[in-house]
C-alpha cells in the first residue's frame, strides 16, 4: 500500500514497489489522460509532474514518490483547461490525433515552470517528446504563445 498525492488529493493505492507511476495513475486511479507510448522513457507520452518537474512516468517507480510530493497529471493541470499552455494549444489548434499531447503539454508546462521565458534553444533541449502526427511546428509556436499568457 502506498500513499500518493495526485492532483491535490491523497490516494491510497495497493501496488507493488516496482510498478511504474504511469500504471498506478492509469489502472489504479483511472487517470487515463496520461498515455502509454513506449515504456522506456523515449517518447514522453507519459509525462507528469512531480513537484512541478516533468518526469516520464512509465519508468518512474510509484514507490519513488513520497507521500508529501505533489503529483500533477493532465487532469490536474487546471480545473477547466485554462492553463496557459492549454489555452495556447486550443488557440493554435495544435493536436492532431492528440494521443501524445497530454505528455507534450505537461512537458511544456514543466519547461515554463522552470523557465518562463524559454527560448527556441531551450525548447530544442527540453522538449524531446515524440509526435508521429507531426504537430512539432505548431508545438514550438504554442510554447511561445503560452509564454504570453502566463
Amino acid at each position: 500500500m502506498a500513499t500518493l498525492k495526485v492532483n491535490g488529493e491523497v490516494k491510497e493505492v495497493d501496488v507493488d514497489d516496482t510498478t511504474p507511476l504511469l500504471w498506478v495513475l492509469r489502472d489504479s486511479l483511472g487517470l487515463t489522460g496520461t498515455k502509454f507510448g513506449c515504456g522506456i522513457a523515449q517518447c514522453g507520452a507519459c509525462t507528469v509532474h512531480v513537484d512541478g518537474v516533468p518526469v516520464r512516468s512509465c519508468v518512474y517507480p510509484a514507490a519513488a514518490v513520497t507521500a508529501d510530493q505533489e503529483i500533477t497529471t493532465i487532469e490536474g493541470l487546471s480545473e477547466d483547461g485554462s492553463h496557459p499552455v492549454q489555452q495556447a494549444w486550443v488557440e493554435l489548434d495544435i493536436p492532431q490525433c492528440g494521443y501524445c499531447q497530454p505528455g507534450m503539454i505537461m512537458a511544456v508546462a514543466g519547461l515554463l515552470n522552470e523557465n518562463p521565458d524559454a527560448s527556441d534553444e531551450d525548447i530544442d533541449q527540453q522538449i524531446t517528446n515524440i509526435c508521429r502526427c507531426g504537430t512539432l511546428a505548431r508545438v514550438r509556436k504554442g510554447v511561445h504563445l503560452a509564454k504570453t499568457k502566463a
Binding site: 493541470l77 489548434d93 497530454p102 522538449i127 507531426g134
Partner: protein, 732 residues
C-alpha cells in the same frame, strides 16, 4: 444497452432518439430488424426511421454522423463542415458522432464505405455527405413551410433558423420531427464552392478541447466493469508458430488471471492490469517453432530485391518511344541506384482492442481505419453471425495506414472468447508494435537517363525492383500479376481514370518505367504516402542528378519537361520562388514535385551541413493544389505533419532483420524526428478549384527528395541510400 456506454458514450449515439430525430437521404432504408436492433445497441436504432447524416435535437443541437475514421487528419471536422455548409447550419451547435459499422450493415450501408485511407476521407465522400446536408435543409424548410401554409420556395434558412415570406421564423430543432416524416428530395442541387461560408474556411477542429485536458478517450483508455487486460507475444519470426508455453510458471504472479493461446502464433497473459500482464508475459517460458524464415536477414532481403534491378522480366507501368535506344545513343549517360527500406508506422497509441464475447453477441471497442473490416474480423474470430457483432470505433491515436486491417481485433476477440462474459482489453507493447508491423515495402531502383549535347533529356528508364503491397494484402487487385499501385506518381496521364490521381509530372518522349516484383517474406502495408514515398525519391533525385550532369538549373530542367503539365509546374514554381530558389545565402536548396492522391504538390528544402557532417534542415516551403480546399488551416497542419513523418523516415526509419527477427524494438532504435530537428514549414495552399485532391498524404513524398537534393546542393554529395542516419554527410 451494454455497460460500456457510460465510459465511452461520445462514440455512441446518445439516447436522445425519443426527443431528437434523424433526417435521411440516399436510399430509403428499411427499419432495423429486431435482431439488428439488438446487435446495434445504440439507441438510434429505435429512432424515427429515416436517418443518415443529420440528427437535430429540439434544442437545435446538430449531430452530424461521420462514417470515416478520425486519426488526427481532421476528416471529422472537414466532413462536418461540408454537411453543415449545405445544411446552412449554426456551426456553433454542431457535434459529430460515428454510426457503428453494425448499424451501417443493418441499414443497407447507408453511410457507404467506412475505409479511411488513401487520403480519401473527404474526396471519396464529399458528394454524398453534401447531398445529405442539402437534403436535410430542404426537408427542414419544407416542414416549416407546411406549418406556415406557404411555399418552401418562399422560405430561406440560415444558421439553423428558417424564415418565411411574412416574417415568420422558426428553428431547425422546432421542425425537425416534422421534417423527418417527409419524403426525401430526389433532386438535390449543391452550392458552388465559391459561395461557401463554413466549408472552405480555416475553422478550428471540433475535437481539440478534450485532447488538451486528458478527457479524450482512446481505445487504450477504455475501462469496462469487470474488465481484464491482456498483453500479447507473437512469434518473433513470421511464418513460425507457437510450440508451447508454461502457464503455471506465471499464474501465481500478482493479478494474473489466465494465460491464453490466442492462435497458432501467439500467446497472451490476462491480468487485472496491463503492467501485471506484461511483466508476467516477459518471464513466461515460451517455446517457438521459428519455421522456414528463422535465418532471414537484411542482407538476404537486399540481395533478393537487387536481383530485380537488371532482370529481363518486369511489369511495365509507363512506356513511350524507345527509351533503351535513346539512352544508348545519347551524348552522356547517367545512371544511379537508390533504395528505400522497410519502415514501421509506429503510431503513438500502440495497437489495441477491447472485446466482450458471449454466446449471443460480440462487441469490440477499437481504433480502426476501417470499421467494416474490423466488424468482419470480429465476427469471424467470434464465430458469430455478423449481425450479432458490432464495433464501437474509438478515436485513433494515429493510423498512417497501420489500422486498416484487423489483426489486433481478431486477437482481442480470440482472447475474450476464452473468457465469456468478461471484457478483455488487449494492448500491445511497443516492442510488439515494432516487431509485428505491416511495414513500408522495401524497394530499390536503377535509373538511367541519356542527355544530348545540349543537355536535353533524350530518354529515361526507371527500373523499380522490390516488394508489392497488393501482392501480399490484396492479390485480387493485381492486374495479370502487375501491381499498378507500385507505380504511384509515375503513371501515364490520361490513360487509366482509376490511376489518374498518381500520374507522372513530366512529358518524356522516350520513357520506360517498369517493376520487377521481388517479395521477401515480410508483411508489407500501406504506410502514409504508400508507394509515392520511394517513387518520388527515385524520380526527383534522379531529375536533380540529370540537371547537374547537363549543367542546367534543376528548376529550369524540370520545367522544360512540364509544358503539358501546368498544374504540376505551377506548384513547383511557387514552391521554388517562395522557398528562395536561386538565393545565394550559403544554404543548399533542393526541389521535388509530384502528383499524388489527386493533388499537385511540390517542396523546396533549405539545408546546411556543418564541418562535422551535422545536417540542419532550416526550412521547407511546400505548395499544394488540392483543387478544392475544405479547411486551409487543417491542410497546413497536414503538410507540416506529413513532413515530420516523412523526414523521420528519411533520417531514421529502417526496420532490419537478423535471424528472422526485427531488430528494432522501440523508439531507442527506431527514432522519430524531435522538435530540435523540425524545420520551419511554409505551406502555400493554391487550390485551383474544380477537383477534389487528397491532403493527408501527398506532401509527405516531396519532403525526402527535396532534402536529399538540398544536401547535394550544400555538399556535392549524393545520398542514395535511406535512412540518412550513420552516413557521412560532410562535403565531398
Amino acid at each position: 444497452m451494454a455497460d460500456g456506454y457510460t465510459v465511452s458514450r461520445r462514440n455512441f449515439i446518445i439516447g436522445t432518439s425519443a426527443t431528437g430525430l434523424t433526417i435521411g437521404l440516399m436510399t430509403a432504408c428499411a427499419p432495423a430488424t429486431e435482431e439488428t436492433a439488438t446487435a446495434d445497441a445504440p439507441a438510434v436504432a429505435e429512432a424515427p426511421e429515416v436517418n443518415a447524416w443529420v440528427h437535430i435535437a429540439p434544442d437545435d443541437t446538430i449531430t452530424i454522423r461521420i462514417a470515416r475514421s478520425e486519426m488526427g487528419q481532421g476528416t471529422l471536422t472537414g466532413l462536418a463542415q461540408l454537411v453543415a455548409e449545405e445544411l446552412n447550419a449554426d456551426w456553433d451547435k454542431v457535434t459529430t458522432e460515428y454510426p457503428t459499422p453494425g448499424e451501417n450493415l443493418a441499414r443497407d450501408r447507408v453511410w457507404g464505405d467506412y475505409a479511411t485511407g488513401g487520403s480519401r476521407g473527404i474526396r471519396g465522400s464529399h458528394q454524398y455527405v453534401r447531398e445529405g446536408g442539402a437534403a436535410a435543409r430542404m426537408m427542414l424548410i419544407e416542414a416549416a413551410a407546411n406549418e406556415w401554409g406557404v411555399s418552401p420556395a418562399d422560405c430561406t434558412a440560415e444558421k439553423s433558423v428558417i424564415s418565411g415570406p411574412d416574417g415568420q421564423t422558426t428553428t431547425y430543432g422546432a421542425v425537425s420531427t416534422a421534417a423527418a416524416a417527409l419524403t426525401p428530395p430526389t433532386e438535390i442541387p449543391l452550392k458552388d464552392p465559391a459561395d461557401w461560408t463554413i466549408a472552405g474556411q480555416p475553422l478550428m477542429r471540433l475535437d481539440t478541447v478534450d485532447k488538451v485536458t486528458g478527457v479524450q478517450q482512446y481505445g487504450a483508455d477504455i475501462s469496462l466493469p469487470g474488465m481484464l487486460t491482456a498483453s500479447i507475444m507473437q512469434c518473433p519470426v513470421r511464418g513460425g508458430t507457437l510450440e508451447s508455453f508454461d502457464a503455471e510458471a506465471v499464474m501465481d504472479r500478482p493479478g494474473v488471471k489466465q494465460v491464453v493461446k490466442v492462435d497458432d502464433v501467439s500467446v497472451a497473459v490476462v491480468a487485472d492490469t496491463w503492467w501485471q500482464a506484461n511483466e508476467a508475459l516477459k518471464v513466461l517460458p515460451v517455446v517457438w517453432n521459428k519455421g522456414e524464415f528463422a535465418d532471414l536477414d537484411t542482407a538476404q532481403i537486399n540481395e533478393l530485391v537487387a536481383s530485380g534491378l537488371d532482370a529481363d522480366e518486369a511489369f511495365v507501368g509507363n512506356v513511350a518511344g524507345d527509351a533503351a535506344a535513346a539512352i544508348e545513343g545519347a551524348e552522356q549517360i547517367i545512371e544511379a541506384t537508390y533504395n528505400y527500406p522497410f519502415q514501421n508506422h509506429a503510431t503513438m497509441e500502440p495497437m489495441n482492442a477491447t472485446a466482450l464475447w458471449t454466446e449471443e453477441k460480440c462487441e469490440v471497442w477499437c481504433p480502426t481505419q476501417n470499421g467494416e473490416a474490423a466488424l468482419a474480423a470480429a465476427s469471424e474470430a467470434a464465430e458469430l453471425p455478423i449481425t450479432q457483432c458490432d464495433v464501437y470505433k474509438m478515436l485513433l491515436g494515429g493510423g498512417f495506414g497501420r489500422r486498416g486491417g484487423g489483426d489486433y481485433v481478431t486477437q482481442a476477440v480470440k482472447i475474450a472468447k476464452q473468457m465469456p462474459g468478461t471484457p478483455v482489453k488487449l494492448l500491445w507493447s511497443r516492442e510488439e508494435d515494432m516487431q509485428h508491423g505491416f511495414y513500408h515495402p522495401i524497394t530499390q531502383a536503377k535509373v538511367r537517363g541519356g542527355l544530348d549535347a545540349d543537355g536535353n533529356l533524350t530518354g529515361l528508364h526507371l527500373r523499380i525492383a522490390g516488394q508489392s503491397i497488393l501482392a501480399a494484402l490484396m492479390p485480387g487487385a493485381l492486374r495479370d500479376g502487375m501491381d499498378a499501385f507500385a507505380f504511384q506518381s509515375l503513371l501515364p496521364a490520361g490513360v487509366d481514370p482509376q490511376m489518374e490521381d498518381h500520374t507522372l509530372s513530366y512529358g518524356i518522349d522516350n520513357l520506360l518505367i517498369d517493376h520487377a516484383m521481388r517479395n521477401p517474406p515480410v508483411r508489407p502495408g500501406f504506410w502514409r504516402g504508400v508507394n509515392v514515398n520511394q517513387n518520388a525519391i527515385y524520380m526527383e533525385c534522379f531529375m536533380d542528378e540529370l540537371a547537374y550532369a547537363a549543367g542546367r538549373d534543376p528548376l529550369e530542367f524540370r520545367l522544360a519537361l512540364m509544358e503539358d503539365y501546368p498544374k504540376n509546374a505551377a506548384v513547383l514554381q511557387t514552391a521554388a520562388e517562395a522557398g528562395g530558389w536561386g538565393n545565394d545565402d550559403g544554404r543548399g536548396r533542393g526541389l521535388a514535385v509530384c502528383k499524388a492522391f489527386g493533388s499537385y504538390v511540390a517542396a523546396c528544402a533549405e539545408v546546411t551541413v556543418d564541418d562535422a557532417g551535422v545536417l540542419k534542415i532550416h526550412k521547407i516551403t511546400a505548395a499544394t493544389d488540392p483543387g478544392i480546399a475544405v479547411n486551409p488551416q487543417q491542410i497546413e497542419a497536414q503538410v507540416e505533419g506529413s513532413f515530420v513523418y516523412g523526414l523521420s523516415g528519411l533520417l531514421y526509419g529502417e526496420i532490419t532483420f537478423e535471424n528472422g527477427e526485427v531488430q528494432e524494438r522501440n523508439f531507442d532504435t527506431y527514432n522519430s524526428l524531435r522538435i530540435a530537428q523540425m524545420p520551419e514549414v511554409e505551406t502555400i495552399v493554391m487550390a485551383s478549384g474544380g477537383f477534389w485532391g487528397g491532403v493527408g498524404e501527398p506532401t509527405i513524398a516531396v519532403a525526402a527528395p527535396a532534402v536529399l537534393n538540398a544536401i547535394h546542393a550544400a555538399t556535392g554529395k549524393r545520398i542514395r541510400q535511406l535512412p540518412i542516419k550513420d552516413q557521412d554527410l560532410r562535403a565531398a
